[in-house]
């Protein structure tokens, strides 16, 4: 009994802290299948388009994910308040997409800021696939 609890605790802590991005992608895949039975997989190409495509926000300004994260995810970005944002691509910033709670928090905020709606699991998976494809 003790051992199982310990094991569960260990597994949980692995899950919430440093899990590789592939783990997160699997979770999004499960969600994406629930959202769309016709799900066929994630696409780095679609993720790239999603990242760069600008839309007109209801406040009149043009925004995209690249507005803050810059067009090349290997570069440092900048917030509206002039603070540096470390690069999004795991090849230069291995901490990215390893903390599920953090990733969900920022998808939650940034999708609402840019798209004025939540992102779908498909969009999140495409986005992460794109970031992982960058060499």
């Amino acid at each position: 009994m003790r051992k199982t609890i310990l094991l569960i605790g260990l597994l949980l802590s692995f899950n919430t802290f440093a899990a590789p991005p592939q783990e997160l992608l699997k979770q999004y895949e499960v969600q994406a299948k629930q959202e769309h039975s016709a799900f066929t997989g994630f696409s780095a190409e679609k993720g790239a388009t999603f990242f760069k495509t600008e839309r007109v926000h209801s406040d009149g300004k043009n925004v995209s994910c690249a507005t803050c994260h810059t067009a090349d995810p290997r570069n440092q970005g900048k917030t509206r308040a002039n603070k540096v944002i470390e690069p999004m691509a795991p090849i230069v910033n291995p901490k990215r997409f390893t903390d599920a709670a953090k990733v969900e928090k920022w998808f939650g905020r940034n999708c609402k800021d840019v798209l004025e709606r939540a992102c779908t699991a498909q969009e999140k998976g495409d986005y992460i696939s794109y970031m992982l494809s960058i060499k």
Binding site: D59, T79, R80, A81, N82, K83, G108, R109, K112, D113
Partner: protein
């Protein structure tokens, strides 16, 4: 009535200047706001901008700000309920009207009782301290805006705005 208040203001400023002279310097004693910390506050409130010391705004301002994080200066900065509660309590406890510190008290006194500013940069205290810094200076690429205190006050996150630590970048 107005004249009366002006006189009072003059008297308080004269007496505080002499208190300052008596204390023998600009920085020592009570000028720098005490370093307070809370891990959640430090992590969550520093990802988009510098960490603003809780002593820079009164409790009512922090309460108002923390209850509208989904529309925080045009951005979504929302938090889960537990984290939001913890940070609000920390900010309230160390706010400008709760600190026994000269600078925090001055900030608090510069805010009319019927107003609840969300920006430090809009308080009369801030504008009077920076009336010699031009709008163009604040807009420099190395600075960005007046809100970016750390660009000029390198110890701003610790609540230290002492004059000997000020350096305006090019």
């Amino acid at each position: 009535m107005k004249k009366w208040m002006q006189l009072l203001l003059l008297l308080t400023s004269v007496s505080s200047t002499s208190a300052l002279l008596a204390s023998g310097g600009m920085e020592e004693g009570g000028r720098s706001m005490p370093v307070e910390s809370n891990a959640k506050w430090a992590a969550e409130c520093s990802s988009c901008h510098m960490l603003y010391h809780p002593g820079l705004l009164p409790e009512r301002s922090w309460h108002k700000m923390m209850s509208g994080l989904d529309k925080h200066f045009g951005e979504n900065a929302s938090l889960d309920a537990t984290t939001q509660k913890e940070i609000t309590a920390f900010l309230a406890l160390n706010s400008a009207d709760k600190q026994d510190n000269r600078r925090a008290k001055r900030i608090n006194q510069s805010i009319p009782a019927n107003s609840t500013p969300l920006r430090i940069t809009e308080t009369r205290y801030f504008t009077s301290k920076h009336d010699e810094v031009s709008a163009n200076t604040f807009k420099r690429k190395s600075i960005g805006s007046a809100s970016n205190c750390v660009a000029c006050h390198k110890n701003a996150e610790k609540g230290d705005f002492s004059e000997s630590q000020i350096k305006i970048p090019r």
